[in-house]
């Protein structure tokens, strides 16, 4: 029996009930939201179940929605099932004042650097991460550059004239 989005949704709702919200299927990929405290439980369930077997973390990233007060930072996990070739997207929203999310490194080793990258760019703090420090930017950087309030260019540069460059 091949794994359909409806079946996955049915199993998830059976197990977690009202906690999981906003089930959508943009472009055929099942996507849903879970509360921040449940992210590991949901991923463990998806990992362990014989029929679901989402044992590969394709991608872990973060997004900043400054307009959603109280849920500004989203951590997005893309999971994958090799046998049935099905993808899944899980979203966790946390407020920017207390951006704490449980780390997925015990379950997936590949989450290690991806969580460091999300911390580096957005400031999402992963509780329990073995080595949460900046990975791509310089260690001395004091702000989280990918957040929407910060500009792209280095404001201290002198040789480029913003007017001529059309900023």
């Amino acid at each position: 029996m091949s794994l359909t989005n409806d079946y996955i949704k049915q199993r998830l709702v059976e197990k977690f009930g009202e906690e999981l919200t906003s089930f959508e299927e943009p472009f055929g990929l099942l996507s849903f939201t879970a509360p921040a405290a449940l992210n590991l439980k949901v991923m463990q369930f998806l990992y362990d179940e014989e029929e679901l077997q989402f044992r590969f973390l394709t991608d872990l990233t973060a997004v900043h929605y400054p307009n959603q007060v109280g849920a500004e930072l989203a951590v997005v996990y893309h999971l994958y099932n090799f046998r049935e070739k099905v993808r899944l997207r899980l979203k966790i929203f946390v407020p920017v004042a207390a951006p704490k999310v449980f780390t997925a490194t015990k379950l997936f080793e590949s989450a290690n650097w991806m969580e460091r990258e999300s911390y580096d760019f957005y400031g999402v703090e992963f509780v329990g991460h073995p080595n949460l420090k900046r990975i791509l930017n310089v260690d001395e950087m004091t702000y989280f550059p990918m957040r929407k309030e910060f500009p792209l260019e280095d404001q201290t540069r002198v040789d480029k004239d913003d007017e001529m460059f059309g900023r």
């Binding site: 472009f27 590969f56 973390l57 394709t58 997004v63 993808r87 997207r89 080793e109 650097w113």
Partner: protein
């Protein structure tokens, strides 16, 4: 910013009496800029700690500033050894978002270019593994064919390395007969060169002894570490995005996926070699299939997203309006969220795109295969000797642009 860079000693290295060796960001053997601080017990490695980010160019932030068609040159510079694959991957993502269907001829031409890029990337990787074991000749023989591939790219798009090939909806101009002649020349000449390279390396006793058993990884650990691409296939898992989620008419082609068993450097070399033969066969199949299609179709008929012909822009009103809307970024992009992946030369190159209907993406994230599998390096080289660690590093095919983005 300008004071001396420092290395901190790894935890407990003084008590354990290990030596710290800095395989620094500038090193002839690290092809790209990443730093490894190796903790060594004599000649054997105990631990390796990697630092990346020495070429972080903030692609994801730049992408939030640029309209969709201006992001293509940015994607070139991710995996710059096989830039066309990144370009095509981006175009396929945007086409999926917009619901654009490309004609078969465009798909087949894209397949030819992508497989050519895959061959050139694998030949650099295998050549460089040879150079690191001391065999410089093989690399020089293969670079001649990379020059021929550069000539093909020049015929199609004008540029050698950072190609910016194609547009959303197809190609910017039709392939000239000269391009097809050069592709035929490549197909005629490359098999001989690849055979020569194989006779130099594959059964070469020194090479085999230097690479077998070096940096092995089991399939379960590889999947846990997020490996994809030739490194995962060398470990025994036959996952290939071209077969699992076919794009650009790959389902019309017949090819096999070479799979290794132990995941060590020799298996990775063999898998890449075999993939080059498979790519040659795919290009040949595509050239045959192209003969039966009308040869003046090179883009999809979507005037809303693909620039109309210049003579139409000067004479017809609708073409002028479309031209204006596309260039000024006023085209109707629907809001949406999607994840699309292609089989890059190093693995699954994914694009996670969130669009809010504006001229640039709200968020664009590149799922870069190198970044994800490089985390496994300490586990791969535990207990190996220093020279093995270098070979392992080069056989993983780490491209710094893709690592840092």
């Amino acid at each position: 910013m300008l004071e001396q860079p420092h290395i901190s000693l790894p935890q407990g290295s003084i008590e354990k009496q290990t030596t710290t060796l800095n395989l620094g960001p500038t090193h002839p053997a690290t092809h790209g800029v990443f730093q490894n601080i190796l903790e060594m017990d004599g000649e054997r490695l105990v631990n390796a700690e990697s630092t990346v980010g020495y070429i972080h160019r903030a692609f994801e932030k730049i992408a939030e500033r640029r309209p969709y068609y201006q992001i293509t040159p940015l994607t070139d510079r991710l995996n710059y050894c096989s830039a066309p694959i990144n370009n095509m991957g981006w175009h396929l993502t945007v086409e999926k978002l917009l619901g654009v269907q490309t004609p078969k001829r465009v798909d087949y031409l894209r397949v030819i270019i992508m497989e050519l890029a895959r061959i050139t990337d694998h030949l650099i990787c295998n050549g460089v593994v040879g150079v690191d074991t001391g065999a410089f000749t093989g690399f020089l023989y293969l670079m001649q064919f990379r020059e021929l591939a550069y000539e093909i790219y020049e015929e199609v798009c004008g540029s050698r390395l950072t190609t910016n090939i194609g547009r959303i909806g197809g190609f910017e101009r039709n392939f000239t007969p000269a391009a097809f002649q050069k592709i035929e020349k490549f197909l005629a000449g490359f098999p001989k060169a690849l055979k020569e390279f194989e006779t130099l390396m594959t059964r070469n006793r020194i090479f085999v002894e230097r690479t077998t058993g070096v940096g092995p990884i089991s399939a379960e650990r590889a999947m846990n570490y997020g490996f994809t691409g030739p490194n995962l296939r060398a470990a025994g898992v036959d996952y290939d995005v071209r077969v699992a989620h076919p794009y650009s008419s790959y389902e019309d082609f017949e090819f096999s996926i070479p799979v290794g068993s132990t995941g060590d450097c020799y298996d990775r070399y063999l898998v890449r070699n075999a993939e080059m033969w498979q790519s040659l066969s795919i290009i040949r199949q595509a050239m045959d299939k192209l003969k039966s299609l009308p040869d003046d179709v090179y883009h999809a008929d979507v005037p809303a997203y693909y620039l109309p012909e210049k003579q139409d822009v000067y004479t017809k009103m609708e073409a002028l309006i479309y031209h204006f809307k596309i260039i000024m970024g006023e085209s109707d992009i629907l809001p949406g969220e999607l994840y699309n992946a292609v089989e890059g030369a190093n693995g699954e190159l994914g694009f996670y795109l969130i669009s809010d209907g504006g001229r640039s993406p709200y968020r664009l994230h590149f799922r870069r295969p190198c970044f994800i599998y490089y985390q496994a390096y300490p586990e791969l080289v535990k207990g190996a000797m220093l020279s093995d660690a270098i070979i392992c590093l080069s056989s993983l095919n780490l491209i710094a642009g893709e690592l840092d983005a």
